[in-house]
Symmetry: C2
Subunit: 332 residues, 2 copies
């Protein structure tokens, strides 16, 4: 195995010197000649220092944990891409953990991450968590994304959900809808989103939503289930505020299976502007925000946190994107 020592021997210098060259420590305190010689040898033999060894010494692994509930959300690829983009710049490697909405497994993951000595964690919380999680979290540098667990005061990157909710509801109200159903996911800042809905309703002189359903996950399948529950609550609704684009896609699928026309019989709006919202038969109106940017900023935040820099939360302001699923509805 190629070690520092061997490289040092080959270059005729001490391991200290090689280390210094490779890490650019004590800049300019190594003669240019020596530096060049060392670099040449390193290049020649293709030496790369052992990450575990330096981790042990430096108490820094250059690894971060990514803890997410699922890989199946249609926005995950973009978020991860954003994370990896910035992570690569800082030489950070990503340890991937998927909780599958299992809160005891989630807790175990944080304990494992602790023994792995990762430098930090990017965490997308799920609705439910173990009480002990708070403690497990407090020992690490953690950045929260897209969600607000509210279980600890963690640095976070989120979307302005109140605004998003407001924009979505206002749009439907503007289109003339008065009986509106909503599908909420407790966990994605749902209270703020809910508040946004109500602000729009109030402005339109309305009191309440006509139907309201909660869903545990925000996948396509959940949209189908939620759709039926919504119609049970109020068969007269003409528009639906879905918890995500995936859910909206499920809702549209279910609606059309029932013989309903989208948007003429029921208008639907999603949340996120994920790939799925363009790929369906009926393109989905949605609230847009850049998932890639969320990932990028989260990683920047984490790096800052690791370097003990001052950090402040990041909140993205989403925009309304109108597509087929909510067009020409009651105005027609």
């Amino acid at each position: 195995m190629l070690t520092l020592k061997k490289v040092a021997e080959l270059a005729g210098v001490s391991t200290t010197t090689v280390s210094r060259v490779l890490n650019n420590t004590y800049r300019n305190k190594v003669s240019e000649a020596t530096r060049q010689r060392v670099l040449r040898i390193v290049e020649e033999v293709g030496y790369r220092s052992s990450v575990p060894a330096r981790a042990l010494r430096q108490k820094r692994t250059y690894q971060y944990g990514l803890v997410i509930p699922s890989l199946a959300f249609s926005y995950m690829p973009e978020v991860v891409q954003g994370l990896q983009l910035v992570a690569a710049q800082y030489d950070y490697a990503c340890l991937l953990y998927i909780t599958q909405e299992d809160s005891s497994y989630e807790l175990e993951i944080f304990r494992v991450l602790n023994s792995l000595h990762v430098d930090g964690v990017v965490w997308m919380p799920q609705p439910h968590h173990e009480p002990n999680l708070v403690q497990a979290l407090s020992q690490k540098k953690v950045v929260e994304i897209l969600n607000r667990s509210g279980i600890a005061n963690l640095p976070s990157v989120t979307i302005d959900q109140e605004l998003g909710g407001y924009l979505a509801a206002k749009h439907l109200l503007d289109m003339g809808h008065r009986r509106i159903g909503a599908i909420l996911h407790p966990g994605i800042h749902w209270k703020q989103r809910f508040a946004g809905y109500h602000r729009a309703l109030r402005e339109a002189g309305q009191e309440n939503l006509s139907a309201l359903v909660y869903t545990d996950m925000v996948l396509w399948q959940n949209g189908i289930t939620a759709f039926h529950e919504l119609y049970q609550q109020d068969p007269g609704i003409t528009a639906i505020l879905a918890a995500s684009d995936d859910v909206a896609a499920g809702v549209i699928y279910a609606a059309r299976h029932q013989g309903l026309c989208v948007p003429d019989d029921v208008a639907v709006i999603g949340f996120g502007d994920n790939p799925i919202s363009r790929q369906g038969e009926v393109s989905i109106s949605t609230i847009r925000h850049s998932k890639r940017e969320v990932g990028e900023q989260a990683m920047r935040l984490l790096v800052a946190l690791i370097n003990n820099e001052e950090v402040k939360d990041i909140v993205f302001r989403p925009k309304l994107i109108v597509r087929q699923s909510s067009s020409n509805s009651l105005k027609k």
Copy 2:
């Protein structure tokens, strides 16, 4: 920080003893009383050994690299789930790397993985690769999934593509189609798949496909592009063999946008039986294989490889699943 030494002091034994208890080495060579005492202390203080430290000593990191071209393929979540399921059983952590189809980045990843001293790699190759990759690969335990790079003789978990191709083509021929177009992805055992198509064609007394298009990626967008190219080659085709379910979804989308009816004007069959094939307006006929199992077996193979056990390649036999996108076509 909690170390072995501290735990040893607390328990009034040597570090060696604690290590032995924790690793179950020299079984029965530690008195039950001592073992219990140590375990109690460990539990009490919540000690977990440092992964980097033991990695340095044992030359084993209990980490594996997962190198894939993209997270956006609709089958990725399931494959990864399968991998993680088995990985968790063996206490393996997953270092995630996404190549984004960038071959020089792919090479760099393997070099990085080398310095990370991961115990092994699960690799899903992309169509193009750097020549130096072979060398970078040869130094590690690598399991290949779903693809065949053909650049090295690596243990692999794959689908019987010839059979898949045969089943798909035979199905379309059985439905009465004679002018069939195909979308191939060079990289997914495409030659075998192609051979399968031809075996079916020969059996039906036909010589060739009517149209043939190659695609670099197997995403929804590629299906749209490919559809148009296919129709340019032969406007008379009545059926399409898509490279994947994602591609099939794109094809169907494009076809319907052109005013064509699926399956009546053009039948489509995908490959993989991913979630997307059920979620569209028109459910997609496809060739099924279990993605979760692919992941599980790949991880088992990797673990065996790491333990220097004998391994042999795994080939799954896929099945035909008929859905709307290829039903009632020319027989109607």
